[in-house]
Symmetry: C2
Subunit: 430 residues, 2 copies
Amino acid sequence: MYEGERPKGFRDLTPELMIVRKKVISIIEKVFQSFGFDPIETPAIEYWDTLAGKYGAEAEDRLIWRFQDPLSGRWYALRYDLTVPLARYMKSHQDVPMPFKRYHIAPVWRHEEPQRGRYREFYQCDADIVGSQYPEADAELIELAIKAIDSIGFTEYTFKVNDRRLLSGIFEEEIGLENPIPVYRVIDKLDKIGEEGVRKELQDKMTETTVEKVIKTISLRGKPLEVLREIRVKYGGNKNITEALNHLEEMFNLIEDPRVSVDLSLVRGLDYYTGPIFEVFLEKPRIGAIAGGGRYDNLIGMFLKQSIPATGISLGLERLIDAVIDLGIIKDRRESYTEAYVVYLKPELIKQAWKVASRLRDAGIPTRVDLIRGSPKKQAKRANRLGVKYIVYIGEREVKENRITIYNTLTGERREYTLEEFIGGPAGGG
Amino acid sequence: MYEGERPKGFRDLTPELMIVRKKVISIIEKVFQSFGFDPIETPAIEYWDTLAGKYGAEAEDRLIWRFQDPLSGRWYALRYDLTVPLARYMKSHQDVPMPFKRYHIAPVWRHEEPQRGRYREFYQCDADIVGSQYPEADAELIELAIKAIDSIGFTEYTFKVNDRRLLSGIFEEEIGLENPIPVYRVIDKLDKIGEEGVRKELQDKMTETTVEKVIKTISLRGKPLEVLREIRVKYGGNKNITEALNHLEEMFNLIEDPRVSVDLSLVRGLDYYTGPIFEVFLEKPRIGAIAGGGRYDNLIGMFLKQSIPATGISLGLERLIDAVIDLGIIKDRRESYTEAYVVYLKPELIKQAWKVASRLRDAGIPTRVDLIRGSPKKQAKRANRLGVKYIVYIGEREVKENRITIYNTLTGERREYTLEEFIGGPAGGG
């Protein structure tokens, strides 16, 4: 019934898309490595028990791809993110030297309703530091994310920072709130429903005076050290708040980027954060958060029944790619890596064409030889459709004189070379 | 019950393994690209209907990871190889210009019984040419595989070639066999059970004289053009055989590697091959086939109900990696990409350490700053355990004099530099 159909909500990545993706991934990876993060991979599949109870009700009931293996009867799940698998990894590899700085770039699967721009399989690029409770670990992740996003070529974005301890402390002081999670859920919708929307939804939960106090609290934003000073003046007597302020001040002492601000309306969707949280918003195009993360000191050690501090950042590859394409950041869009195409003018010249192609490849020029025969005109047409830079003609005269004729598709120039001239000259970048 | 356990038969890839893998993958990828193959990706998941009936009974009943989605009731399967997904891709993208040369490096999943060296998730590296029925397409894949295997650093291997049409033609001529598939299955075990084993298993199926004819046929091996000549002399009257011989002769006309031989005992496990088939065997270590492939003209078009010629080769990444490690082909085994580690002698110097690290990273040197505080001695111990080349010391005197002290862990030398001297000198490779 579905034979030969692509599953709904899933994509194929064509060469044209893959070439952009690989470029962006390679930039991110290089930045991750430059900060001393090393790659790991974990299986696509985990036991359902490992994922169960970690992501909240919606994920559990609807979003995790889980299944019972008909052969063994066991329940498995496709990984939902890269963080719980990291916690599981830490249990499987207890000899890992701390701090453990790993990156992991890989697909995750979510059972979303298929819709434009939302996929059931998408990549995350995560860098995490396991084993450091200190502010410099959080600061490093902020610097890392900025470096990665800058390196891709983005300039107009804002880097928002908050701290779960600040928010909960202030709510405790101001309105005596013990469990702030339901309030976080409402605040998290601020971007979508606006301040009025948040006000309305909060009114179901608390008195009008309290609502206004929440709104006032989350309106606090600005230059990091200024905002922190303001909070310290007002709530310096609260132990949790002071702890957060000290942590954040040490952290910001290491960060000097004007795009970084403290914003008390930032809450992040996930429940497990315990300290600083961050989110990066692209200003142009306005596609929402392109990266997010924070400190989660209780998650990594859960399978080991001990507390292991950790902090991490995740770049959303799909949004980054969309924005890269949208903004034309990567100029040189191509459908193929191929740079040269060897056209042979007579069937019996295939062996010579073959040898020339082999030499060009050895010289670092990705080269195709025509593989479906036909007239030189048809071969050249295929070369052009592929967008190659050089069409290399091999005719009887060329073979006799030990030369090749090159048509440069960019300049329209046609010239004869010996192979050595061509490799050492135009094709070698000379 | 299984919470926090790694699923049986699955692996984690540690940084140490990942660094070797990424090196091998990058070599393979570069060779694929140099021949004009471009990357695609398809989803990890396909509809079960798409995979059903394509791989034979064992795969169907036992090896494919299939599951019914509890939310939709639909049957899905994890991809079993990269070839059937390519056929599905060709249906989803009918505008792809032909010939379509794609590569795909990705994990596949098989429900194997967990045992040493056999995993339920492993990578394949496939290059396929869709849309050419000509021998030069097969020849290109042979050249591509040789180039890739050579580039990784292997030297002692044999590249066996056969053709399904040759085998079936000779069996038809010699023993009047109409369906040779059951005989192929027995021959396929030759490596495992030896000639005597094959003889014994065949005796259940045919007379002793016939068995000896089969044994004699599959004993035919040697230099490609010589073996082909021998077959032509003997069976030149058979149309299928002649067709195969013409195809193979044109193909070998383009291949001049002494490691390539024709070997009539090669049959390949899969049923779908229609022409030349190949398999590459490493001689040292003797771990069996590291690559295999062949022509399969009926598979790609099956979802389009038309015939589309195709030929492909698949490199088995896991075996290649095992052999690379076993033979010590990649000398520089590392647990981390990190090259420099900044140790700061007093807590208040962290900001200076930070700045030096940032400069080193910008100069292309992957650098860590210590993130868990403690004495300089402890910091240096962590640096050493990581295997870095340079330990960079930042003390009060260094800051005052605007210098850094570098301990080279390879030479044991300790020296002072300005940052510029260091970046321009030892760290810059000068």
